[in-house]
Symmetry: C2
Subunit: 396 residues, 2 copies
């Protein structure tokens, strides 16, 4: 009985430790007060658990210099030991590979990217990612403590057969090369997750992220986690119909948001209206110069975008809408019409406290989101640090 | 040390018991195999925990008669002891009060409803609910074991001031009268929850529920739970714009789905097109008779409804769409155009395995959903059966 009871005591302690480690993995630095509130542990138990984790070097305490010193001691915050591990994020975008490395204390310790032709075969893209990682590793990272790799890929949910095959090949390649778990998701959804951890939606639990780039897509953060949907489909805002009589869309539908609010759609519309030559950069310049024709185009596209977002907000009730992708580079000339369209079409109750912001992570968003995926969901990190990971769980 | 260890052992046992009780509260009867898979407990621990709970009368085992007897013993299922408690659900609809009673084993043990004028004051509605409960209680229920009351109300999220006041008054009245926790939510969202526990979406984790009645609204079940949104707004499908140049809507917008797909909207459209007199029942009869004019109207309204649902499915990726409210009474004459509209406008990947069904709980849906709310979320049930509930937690 006593042996059984002692083992129960040890198990309870590990449950408490795991609760604290899980909060730090997801949120980075937290004060002892925040840890107490979020873990529900008593002050005494929390003190005991943190002391144990600090003694083993799993966590470190740091004084926050930003706290006002005049009002007593600066607030002490706790993080996972930055030396305890790093995670790598790779975004395989259409014509770029982006790589970022973050330690388990949520500090961004390096990023790099390189363009490539759109038709570069997948094995070559994986090699390119490896070279970028090697470059960062030489300068900043001890790869011996790599805890996992997150990967973003273009395309719809994992239900799609071709995407699924491509994903399996990339996972196998990286797992063989680095020997750690590899987690994969859609790169636009990962950009949403990245913004909610390091970007303009930091600290928000319910977020709608819309990315207006060559494609139009997005992601939902609901209750602090990435929402995936039944078959890996969610946040596909680009294929919501805005004009049933509009042009054909690549998805097979007609008049989808992507047919009016992608980089190509706005550039083409501007040219057809007799705008300056020079593609998207010319439109950016025209908007900056206040050219009425360009501004009117953005007002129209923004209104339709806002109308789609209004429907989304009625459905999921977010606190924050984040706009990313090239169209966010227009700034207020685009965001203001979007917000006006949103306010014109959403229910008043859905607009309560709702804000619209531009994304802040830029092209690194999906690579950082891939790292957040590792920190939130890696089977390696979800286990107790000293416990070995069974091979079959490591590859999920 | 030994005392502390014994207390840890007791606490671990209670954690295991609570895990089993929580699964049974949410899902009703489960086989031992299902309990093992869902709880993650070992066969030995599970056997030990269930034996203890059965000995104290907290759970009961029942042989499932529906299992094929030729293939060995019938599968044994475990439920909470039906005698251990009942929950009451009340739906304060626009001109009806519906009441239902269910025991903690998920068996529906009685329901009743009564119409009233739309302007009946709130204290009178609460009294009416009490009378209906008293009537059911005399015939079927031991109110001594009441574990909680769930209440559905009309109107948007609790962020709305007038709704909030009304809700507080009703909660206070019922809590004073019955002395148990009272949980409140929007009745359309509760109908969604009811369908996912007892109705046509039973057993599905990701469900879009659309209710087309005098108002148009709905609810989202995501990952098996009711999604609420940041300020209690979610599932407001009725106020998604289908025609930006359409008629004004009560919500302040224009051309919302509610302006074309409510009972009043379809009845008015039918009359204006020269249809038979006699309101909604006349339209129902005309559709049943196959009158082309009525069928064309439903085809048009169904197409727009399907278009809105397509956007919703692109966003949240459900496995199942459930249509409730009076418009579901048209059957396939309406559901087929809805499904066609959905298939025409949703991304192909979002349509994978997606089905559209009519709701099956009818007018009792919201009252049953209110009971599901109690079984899922009551602070009384979430605690260990023998533990007293602090007064301030009981009223949340």
């Amino acid at each position: 009985m006593s042996k059984q009871a002692d083992s129960a005591l040890a198990q309870m302690r590990r449950t408490h430790e795991e609760r604290i480690l899980s909060l730090l993995r997801k949120q980075g630095a937290l004060s002892r007060r925040e840890l107490g509130v979020q873990s529900g542990l008593s002050r005494t138990t929390l003190h005991d658990i943190i002391s144990g984790l600090a003694a083993s070097g799993t966590v470190v305490s740091t004084a926050q210099d930003s706290a006002p010193r005049g009002r007593g001691r600066p607030a002490e915050s706790v993080t996972l030991n930055p030396a305890a591990g790093q995670a790598v994020g790779i975004d395989f975008a259409r014509q770029h590979v982006h790589v970022a490395i973050v330690n388990v204390a949520h500090e961004i310790i390096g990023s790099a990217d390189e363009a490539h032709p759109a038709d570069l075969p997948w094995p070559r893209r994986a090699e390119l990612a490896e070279r970028l990682i090697a470059r960062l590793t030489e300068s900043a990272v001890t790869m011996g403590s790599l805890t996992g790799i997150g990967v973003g890929v273009v395309g719809p949910g994992t239900g799609h057969e071709e995407t699924a095959r491509r994903i399996e090949a990339v996972k196998l390649h990286l797992r063989t090369r680095f020997g750690v778990p590899v987690l994969v998701d859609n790169n636009t959804r990962l950009a949403a997750l990245g913004e909610s951890v390091w970007g303009s939606a930091e600290g928000h639990q319910n977020v709608v992220y819309l990315r207006l780039s060559h494609g139009v897509g997005g992601g939902l953060i609901l209750g602090g986690s990435l929402h995936r949907g039944a078959h890996g489909i969610s946040g596909e805002f680009g294929h919501i119909t805005v004009d049933p009589d509009g042009p054909d869309c690549l998805c097979g539908g007609r008049g989808c948001l992507e047919t009016v609010a992608s980089v190509n759609a706005v550039t083409t519309a501007y040219q057809e209206a007799g705008g300056r030559p020079g593609g998207f950069p010319a439109l950016l310049a025209a908007v900056e110069d206040g050219e009425p024709q360009a501004r009117e185009l953005l007002a129209r596209v923004g209104a339709l975008t806002g109308q789609v977002l209004a429907g989304v907000c009625n459905v999921v009730g977010p606190q924050l809408v984040v706009i990313g992708g090239e169209l966010a580079h227009f700034g207020d000339a685009f965001l203001h019409p979007v917000e006006a369209g949103l306010r014109a079409h959403a229910m008043p109750a859905a607009l309560h406290d709702l804000r619209v912001r531009a994304a802040t992570l830029g092209d690194a968003g999906a690579a950082l989101g891939a790292i957040a995926l590792v920190l939130h969901e890696s089977p390696l990190l979800a286990r107790y640090p000293t416990e070995p990971v069974p091979e079959e769980r490591a590859c999920s």
